[in-house]
């Protein structure tokens, strides 16, 4: 039996035609959207003055959830009042930020005009996706960097701002967390005499302290002071970027390095670092020591990244640990007056303090006006006044990257308790740590993320007894050589 079709029914042919037409319209509109003028919300008003020439515009800044960004995000009013520009700040965990930045640069649409350019995960792999800021510095219609780029701490400018070329500047140093020795001064003072007597050296951390002494102190606390503190030392030894950071301090202190010419590879960076040198005798000795050190550390070290370690230290679980200096604010709020800071101990060759700073860059996919407007924010956010304001902020705190900020009388005064800027309590330690002979700079190469993963995975195996230190170093070397020989896959 044939069922009669209702009058208003849609025939198969009409349905197909409609769907195809709709799909074509959708495709056409998306193509036009893609090819047409990108929706820029930046408009120039040439007569409005240097700082206000982009008033009414909106910029997007993508950043890791770090202290200075928290401080700026908590109060963007001064920037908007100065420039008339609205700034949207997106804060993310670093790996999520790297994904978004990579995809944004690939799309060529510059959703984010301002980029928190981690030197190792953003700058090195995507340097060509960032603007060489010299073109904006040379523009007389734009404000200049206050006190010039020479005011930035030289090692920061090189590590966070440049890639390969010593002339091009891709980012202005924006923050500078650095691994330093954090210790419970109250406990060290309480047991100073007893420790000196038992260990045969002055246990108070100083420039002359060594990693062997660090180990001996940690062991002493484990054996003699568990009523006050459960463990002598703790580490950020989770299978994570943090483990590579923690180990690298020891590696460099013992004279090892990831590649030949480590200062150059870590400072300006390179696209071809040459053969990996983690199988050198010095590196293997460092791995042996690190393995021994972790065997007496708090057992939870193997599941802590920097946050876990910071929380444990602030909770009174540890007498000392190497951690980023920006944790000083948290230490001071939870253990007021009880924590002090020093550069990390020396090994047979030097003291090495891992630098984890980042620069503020501008996407090269931006239009000319967008990058000029973004420049206003970059100059403002890295100016001495704002770095000082960040230091005072209750929302974040700061890690200034400018020499002039550390010389301001109120900052100098805050280096001692009572201090309204707790991060500055670390000033003496970090200024030592940033000296060229003490700074620790991991390789700045485009394929660093994959090398980093190989390093912390092999180290994690070593710490769990799956491999011996020499095996771990040789396996890592082989893996890194394979990764480097493949080259940076995502480059253009």
């Amino acid at each position: 039996m044939i069922t009669p079709r209702p009058e208003n029914a849609v025939s198969r042919r009409r349905l197909l035609t409609g769907v195809a037409g709709g799909a074509a319209a959708l495709a056409a509109s998306s193509l036009l959207g893609g090819c047409g003028a990108r929706g820029s919300s930046v408009t120039r008003h040439p007569d409005a003055g240097m700082w206000r020439q982009y008033q009414g515009s909106t910029l997007n800044f993508i950043s890791e959830n770090t202290a200075p960004t928290a401080a700026i995000a908590a109060n963007t009013t001064p920037f908007t009042e100065l420039t008339g520009i609205n700034i949207n700040i997106v804060t993310l965990e670093l790996s999520a930020l790297v994904q978004k930045v990579a995809l944004d640069l690939a799309s060529g649409r510059s959703t984010y005009q301002l980029i928190y350019a981690d030197p190792y995960q953003v700058l090195a792999p995507y340097a060509r996706g960032l603007v060489d800021l010299r073109e904006l510095m040379a523009d007389p219609s734009l404000p200049q960097v206050p006190l010039g780029v020479g005011d930035f701490i030289p090692t920061h400018l090189e590590a966070a701002g440049k890639f390969v070329s010593p002339d091009e500047i891709y980012a202005l140093p924006y923050d500078c967390p650095t691994l330093i020795w954090q210790y419970r001064r109250d406990l060290f003072e309480k047991y100073a005499d007893q420790m000196s007597h038992d260990l045969g050296f002055d246990p108070m951390p100083s420039d002359a302290s060594t990693w062997d002494q660090y180990y001996a102190i940690a062991r002493w606390f484990n054996d003699n002071a568990t009523d006050d503190v459960p463990y002598g030392t703790g580490h950020q030894a989770k299978q994570h970027d943090s483990l590579m950071n923690d180990f690298s301090n020891v590696l460099w202190a013992y004279g090892g390095d990831y590649f030949d010419n480590g200062g150059q590879v870590g400072g300006l960076g390179t696209v071809d670092p040459g053969p990996c040198r983690l199988d050198s005798p010095a590196a293997i000795e460092a791995a042996n020591f690190y393995s021994r050190l972790l065997s007496i550390a708090h057992p939870a070290s193997l599941s802590w990244d920097w946050d876990g370690l910071g929380n444990a230290f602030a909770a009174g679980q540890l007498a000392m640990c190497p951690n980023w200096h920006e944790y000083a604010a948290s230490n001071e709020s939870k253990l007021p007056g009880k924590v002090d800071y020093a550069p990390l101990p020396r090994g047979p060759v030097r003291s090495a303090n891992m630098y984890g700073g980042t620069g503020l860059g501008i996407s090269a996919s931006t239009t000319a006006d967008e990058r000029r407007a973004a420049w206003l924010f970059a100059v403002w956010a890295t100016s001495p006044e704002i770095e000082l304001a960040n230091l005072k902020s209750k929302a974040g705190g700061g890690t200034p990257t400018r020499t002039s900020v550390y010389q301001m009388p109120e900052v100098v005064a805050a280096e001692h308790r009572p201090s309204s800027m707790p991060n500055i309590l670390t000033a003496a330690a970090v200024s030592k740590a940033w000296e060229p002979q003490n700074i620790g700079l991991r390789p700045k190469i485009p394929m660093w993320n994959e090398c980093d993963t190989a390093i912390f995975t092999q180290l994690s195996r070593m710490l769990l007894g799956d491999s011996k230190p020499d095996e771990a170093m040789r396996d890592t070397t082989a893996q890194i050589n394979r990764i480097v020989s493949r080259g940076w896959v995502a480059s253009s």
Partner: protein, 278 residues
């Protein structure tokens, strides 16, 4: 069929073709996405990569443990609830709560509870004399992420199995009782065969989910310690979004898809044999 294909094309077919092309290419990101034909390089690599191989071994162990435990516990809880005459709805509602928590929050909760500084479970274990950090050693970390998944998804199996149990005819059970069937015999020869089809569907749903398990591991262990919890989806994420080796990531993804299809086909064939696939 044509409208269906037209709708399916942008959602599934085009991305699939795109992924296949990616797996045969070296993918460049900067300055716009660009593919350079690389032949079978990625495919040759995926079958010789020891890291991916080990990730498959761990995935298999994880799959068997999570799905096995969830089916076992789910069935036991469903039988208990089936026997419960008063308050069944309330108990079931409480039991279902974990299912409504996003996996990433389950991971955060698990990490917090096992944190050796603040964690309740870590404290309980210390009182019992266990000093090891739960997420700090291979065996316990693997067990922890398995148990977190089991905690979250056992209620789903319980709910599905309970629905099946509620449909077992009273008359059949009465007849079995009159024939002298005891508790175990009733379960073995009457109840379980009656709900086997429902359990098979539950198994299919959980299996498809277990293959792409990611969130809890990423939040708790990051694949560690010593790669002990690095299953294939975690490795895939790393290759795609940490190393941005998108051609190789597409290859690993296609291999995961193939495995998923094989497992799904096996279940569908079983359902077909029981006359339930149509």
């Amino acid at each position: 069929m044509a409208p269906g294909i037209l709708l399916l094309a942008p959602l599934s077919l085009l991305p699939f073709v795109f992924i296949v092309v990616m797996s045969l290419s070296r993918v460049h990101l900067l300055g716009g996405v660009r593919f350079d034909f690389a032949g079978l390089v990625n495919w040759a690599r995926v079958f010789t990569d020891p890291d991916v191989g080990m990730a498959w071994v761990r995935s298999f162990g994880y799959f068997v443990l999570t799905v096995g435990l969830e089916m076992g516990f789910g069935l036991v809880f469903a039988l208990c609830l089936w026997r419960l005459l008063r308050g069944r709805t309330t108990v079931l509602s409480l039991m279902l709560l974990p299912m409504f928590v996003a996996p990433v929050f389950v991971g955060l909760l698990g990490r917090f509870l096992t944190d050796s500084t603040f964690g309740l479970y870590a404290w309980v274990l210390r009182q019992l004399g266990v000093q090891t950090d739960v997420l700090g050693s291979q065996g316990s970390a693997f067990a922890a992420v398995v148990l977190m998944d089991v905690w979250e998804w056992t209620p789903l199996i319980t709910m599905i199995a309970l629905a099946g149990l509620s449909a077992v005819p009273e008359s059949v059970r009465e007849a079995a009782s009159l024939d002298g069937a005891g508790g175990w015999q009733m379960l073995r020869y009457v109840v379980l065969p009656s709900i086997s089809n429902v359990l098979l569907v539950a198994l299919l749903i959980r299996s498809m989910d277990a293959i792409r398990y990611f969130d809890i591991i990423w939040v708790t262990t990051n694949g560690g310690p010593a790669d002990a919890t690095k299953i294939v989806p975690v490795r895939l994420y790393e290759v795609a979004f940490r190393f941005f080796d998108l051609g190789y990531a597409a290859t690993i993804g296609l291999l995961m898809l193939a495995v998923s299809i094989v497992i799904a086909r096996a279940f569908v064939r079983l359902l077909d044999q029981k006359g339930l696939a149509r």
